[in-house]
Symmetry: D2
């Protein structure tokens, strides 16, 4: 009972990883918006698994079918439904996961919530596969935002113990932000990519996994976006971001670091730059009072290590009513951070557009 | 246009700091819920300013008048409106703030959003005073939660450079959680309180301010609370928390720290404790897949230093159309973290109850 | 749990007739909108009781206090709270109504819903007095609509057995629509007013009451207003209208009468009138497919006779657990239709503006 | 931007009549609810066209595919998506309807709203075909309601000039209500069916169409359902009902007729029937103060004649910018009332369940 989110560009999501398919309904697209299927496919390919050794070897085409809402290549203004049929579902036996709860996963919480009636195969509705519809919507949103002069980009600020440099909080060029999407491991300091790759491969070797941090910037967002009291831009962004599986933290601007600063350090001094009002620091991440101030919107998201690991783990067997040791077989991402980058970008683009419409 | 939030216990907030008054409407209270005005007053007193040297010397009674929704001491089930009249409004001249934007404040973003028509005096609708209604609602929610066996408590995990020890993620006693509210500087390690106080007093001396981190725990929350996909408990909590002025980060469980762990470290092993399923770690903060798993709900919130400082600051004068140096006069909190503690607790209590109803 | 309605101009309502006060919060007013307190007072006076023999002799000043959201005479853009304190509450003994349910009233349904905790005095939250906040909002909406060229007017199409002529479905002048508000019994055929008055006075004599029908027209509404599938303008208008106590029917255009027509009679032929597309009939009441087509929006609302009558009535005593005969004492409206006119107009104006913003 | 409705059982609808398909997402089904596909198919067959001479000769299988939310024959608790692929789309040339607006249809209003980008073929998103998803949801709702002891039934109260007798407002048996669904022309007085059929056939002969009135009763609805102030059961039912194409009026209980009664006639006297409180009349249609009182919920809906008729009609050609005479070719329903019966029932069942959950 939380399938729908958004105010002016409302998304409804559905599906389980091992049912017929997953998908979305998007309501509120301005009629006439170009729907660039090729760009959507490219964005979805960034998220799709099976493309390199850093991710799971499952192949999922993530092909989509637009059922409604697009007419002659443009948004009709009516609800757009896109279906992403499931494929490559190993007919493997999931029955052990019916009763043995995978640590770090939603298995137990979901079983309680849905009284045992939910589809547990492959995580069901909790599967990371449910982020594919988000990327679809994000791609549509990015195209519309681009026409409004807004560009969203993201890089991996950390994988395991390896960190990247951070965005210049005062802004990056559109070229740099857009260029990041060409890389499997998008980083600002190119020398960190091989180190991150090594970190992931080491985890894979150890039948373990690693997490990370993604940093996002949006430039060109006009001032005045955000709806106090309860629909601050930070509220809406974090709401959508924490819906993405594996997100455990969200911070804006200087974030948690701001708590150790003095007010004289944390405040962003203001000045005129021609006709425009700018700040000379951006510790607030482009948002004050929950409303954009015209500076780049900047935030970071903490991603936990993939909970699916091949090592034996201590858990419970609910049918047997006793403790158990579970070994999860199958193909897993040793690190979902690279595949999470387009998802987080997509959520940012969708939310920004939702609040700008 | 974001005055209302909540799904089953919906709050609408209104008011400006220098208008007639502020207040709230609370819709969805279970009829018959006891409304303990004395407890509400106590909670609101925790937030009220002017009580000690750590906070602003402004005195605000924060007395409330219940206009509706309570009959014979109990919730009628109909909308409860509580009014908090404004008082002690210095008749000082705020006119300089009409055009000179305070750095770190919502002044500029708000002026753009509201096209200059909003009440700028004392921050208007963006004033920290608007958190008083949250505390009112939180007090009502805490009483109802208590009957359901849920207890919420918070401590200051950091002020400036001084940190406290953290909650035991596997749980604290109800006594310890509830006992914290007796202190102006609620900490787990009593030796840190004087150090924090010194940090605040030093900032005051320097006409500066400091921020901090608040850690919150809720025990007794049943498993199964949270609404995938978009209304995960983390989504709803962060949404409400980021509505509170000065919050710049929210993290659950191990939070940003989880991003540096291996999956084998981050996953919370499960076992039976009698009939009950528990985890032997709590890196997920009691929430997996966006749904509670029965372990304590645990999160931390980053609070920025009070942006109002007495030092001269670089800013813009929108009327003059040129840069300016602003000296904010008046009484300010050198640190709002202590007064933010009951606010953050209140938001947690309200959101938890909203999702449990 | 239904205190809030509206999408872009969201209203939250609160209060009981015999509590401290009633009121509203209005969120989403365009900043800078003129708030004409004098006009609001006039509109509220149209609804207020005690002004003539046609209505109850209770005197209620319906004076309002704007608590927030208005700054220097204009909408600040932040939530507007208006409080309407209760007065002239007879200290009469309502205790009989605690257990004896008034037929035709919400007493029994409400007691079940609120488990007996609601304030039953004078109907509590179900009191017709709760329509005063609607009139407040309607007055604000009318002023804004007027600047957009939209005028809303209503007349009494029926009281008891006396009918008025109906609006010309192709349109009335703004002058005629606005002129109606000057009359206690607004009718199109002036000769019907005395007959209606007689109908009401006869009912009063007989300790009985009469109902009626109100017809509303809005001119100047641009085409394209309405949100399929579920937020057709008819859906939103009827939703708001059926919230008003005593409304039992809503019909648009030819309404129930259209069901007896042939398609060739019911369809509204279209033609150009200069550049503008018009229809030469208006059986659809200006709405096709749930969306305005530029013709006048036209609908009628059925109002039931005041359920409070002084005659003995058969009912139940819930405390005694047995049937009872109830005689309601006190001052009642023999006919609420005249006082309902400004309420229905207000709901129409609010809803139209909500969907046009 | 109105694709989603409902509070606890939220439906999102999508599709155009000549796109790939139409469908729905249903969020909030209690996990474990039986999903009886056979019953759903039966209900959808009641609405499907092409079954007899009373309706259009288009054949639409209305076969559905459940994409998600059902696991092992039961509701999983996660969003249920059902897809209804389009078929039997005549490849006829719709191009004339791109610019020539059909009177009585949404063509013109929709073209303005969607700026000409919407799919105009066959009415697109405004097509009556969009009511198929409603019937799907209604069938699911009816099964769940049945377990709660609630039965919904409907009959045709009028077609053109032929009327049926009305429901006994004090209640009908479950058998009678359920039995009505077996008939193409469900009536209470069997002698009226042939007359209604003759009325429809006459209209068909004349290349014309007829409308009608549908009366609905729900028995077994417990008292206490409805959410004042703005979510009265009448508000929610009418909101959903007016979303159905061709509905122009909704009235509860005695409806418009109540406006001509005296209060002493209109009020429903109450008495004990054993332990239960009942009323001895039911002019309020089981709803007082917007809340059910335990008596049968009773309402009527006015359906306009099918606007698609084969006769030449006066309209506009928007491309040519001049008046035109349009002859709509193709297969049309001379009367949609019989096919609307299961739709109206479905909306009632869905809304009642939504408010009972």
């Amino acid at each position: 009972m939380g399938a729908t989110f958004g105010r002016n560009l409302r998304m409804t999501i559905f599906g389980e990883s091992h049912g017929k398919g997953i998908g979305l309904v998007l309501d509120g697209l301005p009629p006439g918006s170009a729907i660039n299927e090729e760009f959507i496919r490219e964005e979805m390919a960034r998220r799709a698994p099976g493309q390199n050794l850093l991710s799971t070897q499952r192949k999922e085409a993530d092909a989509f079918i637009i059922e409604s809402g697009v007419f002659e290549g443009k948004a009709a203004g009516t609800p757009l439904c896109a279906l992403i049929p499931n494929s490559d579902q190993h007919s493997k036996d999931y029955s052990i996961l019916k009763n043995q709860m995978r640590p770090g996963h939603a298995d137990y919480a979901g079983k309680i919530k849905y009284k045992g009636f939910n589809d547990y195969r492959g995580g069901g509705h909790f599967s990371g596969r449910l982020t594919a519809p988000l990327v679809f919507v994000g791609a549509v949103a990015k195209s519309i935002l681009k026409e409004k002069g807004v560009v969203v980009g993201a890089h991996i600020a950390r994988i395991g113990r390896v960190t990247d440099t951070l965005f210049n909080p005062l802004g990056e060029t559109a070229e740099r932000l857009q260029g990041l999407r060409r890389y499997i491991l998008p980083v600002l300091d190119a020398s960190r990519a091989p180190l991150m790759e090594a970190e992931v491969m080491a985890a894979r070797e150890e039948k373990d996994s690693v997490g990370g941090v993604i940093e996002v910037m949006a430039i060109g967002v006009p001032p005045g976006i955000g709806e106090p009291f309860f629909d601050s831009l930070e509220s809406r962004l974090s709401h959508a971001l924490f819906s993405v599986p594996a997100v455990k933290g969200v911070e804006f601007g200087a974030g948690f670091g701001i708590s150790a600063l003095k007010g004289s350090e944390a405040n962003d001094p203001m000045r005129f730059d021609g006709e425009q009002v700018i700040t000379t620091k951006n510790n607030n991440g482009g948002i004050t009072g929950g409303i954009t101030n015209g500076m780049p919107v900047l935030f970071r998201v903490a991603i936990k290590p993939t909970p699916s690991i091949s090592r034996p783990q201590q858990t419970v067997d609910l049918a047997a009513g006793e403790d158990a040791v579970l070994e999860i077989t199958g193909r897993h991402d040793p690190c979902i951070v690279p595949r999470a980058v387009p998802v987080i970008e997509a959520v940012a683009a969708w939310t920004l557009l939702d609040m700008m419409l």
